[in-house]
């Protein structure tokens, strides 16, 4: 479907294009696609970095291996990133197909489903980052009053790579927050018709 006017796609998506909205919708679709692809790439990259990060220390005769499963927060980060990666990959494909067809989302139930999913993903990613950052901070600086000792002086390389993984997951979270804003726009503009000001209504600015 190209930008020729009005059309209908199979399923719940209808297509209608005016002049100005054509450009806005095209840019919006492209931005959404790029952001969803970024989320997929960043979450996968963070997941791989966190899961493969490991460091072995020999303390006398004891071998001690640091890995992400030692911290509950990092396990949560890996699970959250895995879910977000699959979710974003599926939606990237949907966006790509929609972009090729030039379709605009007009179905409220579908828009509600996408909006709800995006909101859940964004908050889950932010929560996972916050929990991992908190654990990481204790690992780096310790919590002196609670006698939780710092570990990064022992496992420096492990901590550095983990920080890179968490930083990339943070980028994914930021992209996911923007995606959730776009899906909110796509949903709530469908409710705009009834709230439009009548042309005769002057507004005090």
């Amino acid at each position: 479907m190209s930008y020729l006017g009005v059309g209908i796609t199979p399923g719940n998506v209808a297509v209608y294009h005016g002049g100005k909205m054509k450009l806005i919708d095209r840019r919006l679709r492209l931005t959404e696609l790029l952001l969803r692809c970024s989320v997929t790439v960043f979450t996968l990259l963070a997941l791989i970095l966190v899961v493969t990060d490991t460091q072995v220390k020999h303390i006398f005769t004891i071998e001690r291996r640091a890995k992400y499963t030692d911290m509950k927060a990092l396990v949560f980060l890996v699970v959250a990133n895995g879910i977000a990666a699959v979710y974003s990959l599926l939606h990237s494909v949907r966006c790509l197909v929609g972009s090729m067809k030039g379709s605009v989302l007009f179905s409220k139930p579908l828009a509600w489903a996408i909006f709800s999913g995006d909101q859940a993903m964004a908050y889950m990613c932010v929560a996972a980052i916050a929990a991992a950052a908190e654990s990481g901070l204790i690992g780096r600086e310790g919590e002196e009053k609670l006698q939780w000792m710092k570990l990064c002086n022992m496992y420096g390389k492990f901590c550095d790579w983990m920080s890179v993984g968490v930083a990339i997951a943070l980028l994914a979270s930021i992209a996911m927050v923007f995606v959730s804003c776009i899906s909110a726009f796509s949903l709530f503009r469908l409710y705009g018709g009834a709230t439009q000001r009548p042309p005769s209504l002057a507004v005090v600015k």
Copy 2:
């Protein structure tokens, strides 16, 4: 301003009411007001509970007092709840005044400012809860492999009250997430006019 038709309030807010939208807008305003008041009450309550929670233990001749400043995550929770409480209180007053006037938000810059603020507050509250929950989990169960010992067997009363405080802060976060959805609705429906389907366009359902 009552529900009599069209009116204008001073500033950037215009008032227009149709039949059906009158009811929807009234309900939306009321829901927003109740949610913002809930956030104010819950954040203040959580803040007071966390700040005042303390427990003293005597280990031989040493006196050890547990308080929220022992954990960085709880300090962040207190700061985040304080900011969210003040923010929600101010917006509760704005909503109350708007509700009494019967005004509907039509100004895009103002709607963008409210939307951005609400989004920031919602993500900040969720991040603070996640960090506090992670620290709380380590405090309750310990992180055996990292030799971060559990503390709640020593400071049981402190941990129990802290859990209540974090649970109330969680309620505040959930309310804040719904508030951010309402402000997204209030903003993005302003962009709805241009995307409305023409009446002649049949949509495949």
